[in-house]
Amino acid sequence: MTTMTSPSPAPPVAVSRVRHGELVGLWVLLRLNLRRERISLLIWIIGVSAVAASTFSAITSLYPGQAERAALAGSITANPAFLAMLGPIGSTTVGGLTAWRIGVLAATMIGLMAIFTVIGRTRADEETGRTELLMAGVVGRSAQLVAAVIIAAGAALLIGLLVAVAGIAQGAPVTGSVALGAAFAGCGWVFAGVAAVTAQLTENARTATAMAGAVLGAGYAIRAIGDTVVGWKWMQWLSPQGWVTRVNAFGTDQILVLVLFAVTSLALVGTAVVLLHRRDVGLALFPARLGPPSNPRLTSPDALAVRLHRGSLTGWAVGFVAFGAITGGIAASAGDLINGSPQLAQIINRLGGAGVLIDAFLAALGAYAGLLAAAYAISAVLRMHTEEAAERVSPILATAVGRTRWLSGHLMFALGGAVLLLALDGVVTGIVHGARIGDLPTGLDRGLVAMLIQVPPVMIMGGFAMVIYGWWPRLSVLAWAALGLALVFGLLGRVLQLPQILLDLSPYTHMPSLPGGEIRWLPVLVELGIAAALVAVGVAGLRRRDVM
């Protein structure tokens, strides 16, 4: 390998320092990473801390009195969907409610940010050959990995700091604010470490991201079980997001739990560095295998789409099956909560009994599944952009394949795949729930209806991504921004008491709450029509514009 150093012989001292300096060049790489990630990190930092700050102020102004907050906490504790999605409430102070409302979600988002940043600046650079260019310079072996982790960890720390400042500025206790911010930062650190490890395992950046994402999803699911299933509380300890709950900011402020984050992230980064030294640049621990010398079945653009999408769809399907199993498993215990509190039982029985609780729980988790399915649909639509950016589209379009023909396979996976995921989720939820209540048809009916009612808004999100890709492929981040807004509106809209006009912008707002409610076909059909129109507009855009 050639180096980019000057050809004149360097003094021996300098040479030995270069050879042993694992982190030589770290400063330059940090600046490079900052330059490359500045926009996306800025969006993450501002986005997450703005949500935290506005939640602090919303709860302060909407629930000023202790009695009001206690009532809110009471109604929340009665709702198992809230427990599954957000965890238990640690304290009924303003800070405690805020920590409950945003804690698990913000920690997961920060984890996602850390994963994207670390994989992007390690394995993705390596896959494209940029790492080779850097490593040929005076750069230590671990410098790139460490630089990526530092950038991600630094961004997580900054978010934590801003969250703490937001809490203190709203008059929340200093210890609690700092504990919450530190827990957020810690969660980011742990997943930066997870991503650092998965980046060593495979040559493919997508696979590395998927592996780290699976750990993040598992962390979320494990704590959901721990938070909802009576007697399984210990499971919180198995998940970094569970640790955020365990820190119990503004409640008991378990500062010692923060040590877990620090120790785990350091251990993970250490493991990644060891793995890094056991492999060659550009290769991975799991080596790529040889493929078939020819393949007579690969005869159409659809066959190519199958090859490009099947891995990711399979991964998502596994995730949705797990999600469905947990949803179905917890749903039946939604009724158990009544047993804990006679007053609660009285209220709920007046509302219609435990069945109402189960319905509400399934509807809430369905809304969640809708957001996740939209994330799949958007990523599958934008896969076309990835293909185009890598210049793998022009060789296809230079054959007798038209643009619509090429695109149809990708769209089939993006939209059809999302429907499939929701249906799978519904079936698994239904079977598990049905088995637990001993009534399979009722279980299946409830599960399927809860998930499938999410199809129209998911199609709209996918259609919107298609419009962006068709007309303005460079702005593809807007498709993700739309999902981010839908998430904030859907999960925080009520708490923040956002104006209805704003909430109405989200396609999720207009779907009836099912099961338990009455199905209204008009919004369903209107949304499906809008989705079809969006797809058509996006396709028209791609047919008109230049292809790179």
């Binding site: 005869t299 210049e391 793998r392 296809i396 230079a398 394949v401 008109r544």
Partner: protein, 357 residues
């Protein structure tokens, strides 16, 4: 090395279009001139404030290997993308095989194979799968021919994506293009990264394609390759074709370097037309002479009594360097400069200007 020139499609193969190559005849759509495979007139393409193509004129005759040359960033790839219907020209007219490359993209592409300059493969597809895929998407591929090409290019089709070196990725695209039965091959710097042995195999294959009546638009920087393969050459600069003709014609535009020893000092040379960079060192003399003035200048030399003489023939490199360099070619004060000869068509070299047919 020879290539199977018979081009008999095997019964098993599944080529949907029906063109006969036996006589080199090419079927074209109604309305097109069958003798012209590619014709672009006044094509303009801008990206924001950058004018990538600025009135490009290009004509490729059916059955020829046409060299497409120009410095980096001169608009070659943009021109090729327009010819493939991947991009739409802002103005001007482009016809490929008698059709409009934008509106008729799909039917035209059954008759065209393309080799991109920077081949990007799918990370989870083997090279063999990519070859099969691209061939079948084009409408069919000749399996025997593919196997033959794989062997000749010594390509392992089982590797995936980045496991291939740059040269081997390039080979995947070349094999994919050559194993289809098409009329027009468009190649954008296809041999970058190929070793000299493979370069030779590539040249053999291209000659065989030409002998079978195929048309080839070859963008290249490798002058020996252009010299060995191309019938005619277009040189593009800043989005417009600046030079166009056969290699023999273009060679007339270059200068021969002469080093001679004469009995007397050849003082008359300093006033002779077409002489440049003259250095007289007593009886030794060294100068460049425009090829068109060679005869007269040699007369002057003979008059001085030639003792020894070395003449270095004009190289294409000189010509290209002149057009590739940023400086505008110098224009001598007298009217005998070579570019005037082009404009006047004295050597039969056409010079396209904007708007000209």
């Amino acid at each position: 090395m020879t290539i199977d020139n018979t081009a008999v499609p095997s019964p098993a193969d599944n080529i949907s279009h029906t063109t006969t190559k036996a006589s080199g005849a090419v079927s074209t759509r109604a309305g097109g001139d069958p003798a012209t495979a590619i014709e672009a007139t006044g094509v303009v393409k801008t990206f924001g404030s950058t004018r990538a193509l600025d009135g490009l004129d290009l004509r490729v005759r059916t059955g020829e290997v046409h060299g497409f040359l120009g410095p980096n960033g001169s608009g070659k790839s943009t021109a090729i993308r327009i010819l493939l219907g991947l991009m739409r020209a802002d103005s001007g007219r482009a016809r490929v095989l008698g059709g409009d490359p934008w509106t008729d993209a799909v039917p035209l592409h059954r008759r065209i194979a393309y080799v991109p300059g920077d081949v990007s493969l799918w990370p989870n597809l083997s090279g063999g799968e990519v070859i099969d895929l691209l061939g079948r998407l084009r409408g069919g591929l000749d399996v025997r021919r593919r196997d033959d090409l794989l062997e000749r290019f010594e390509l392992d089709p089982r590797k995936k994506g980045r496991a291939y070196s740059k040269g081997n990725r390039q080979k995947v695209a070349i094999v994919a293009a050559l194993c289809s039965d098409v009329e027009l091959l468009i190649m954008d710097e296809p041999t970058t990264g190929l070793d000299p042995l493979m370069e030779a195999v590539f040249q053999d294959c291209i000659r065989a394609e030409r002998d079978r009546g195929r048309t080839l638009l070859l963008s290249s920087h490798i002058l020996s390759e252009v010299e060995a393969l191309c019938d005619r050459v277009s040189i593009i600069r800043a989005g417009a074709v600046v030079e166009f003709g056969t290699l023999t014609q273009l060679r007339h535009l270059t200068r021969t370097t002469i080093v001679a020893e004469t009995r007397q000092e050849p003082v008359a040379l300093s006033s002779a037309a077409g002489v440049h960079d003259l250095v007289i060192d007593g009886s030794r003399v060294r100068f460049d002479v425009d090829t068109g003035h060679l005869d007269a200048v040699l007369g002057v030399l003979t008059g001085a009594g030639v003792l020894s003489l070395t003449a270095s023939p004009p190289t294409l490199e000189e010509l290209f360097l002149r057009h590739y360099s940023d400086q505008v070619p110098e224009t001598p004060a007298d009217g005998d400069d070579p570019s005037a000869a082009i404009s006047g068509g004295r050597h039969g070299v056409a010079r396209f200007s904007r708007g000209a047919k």
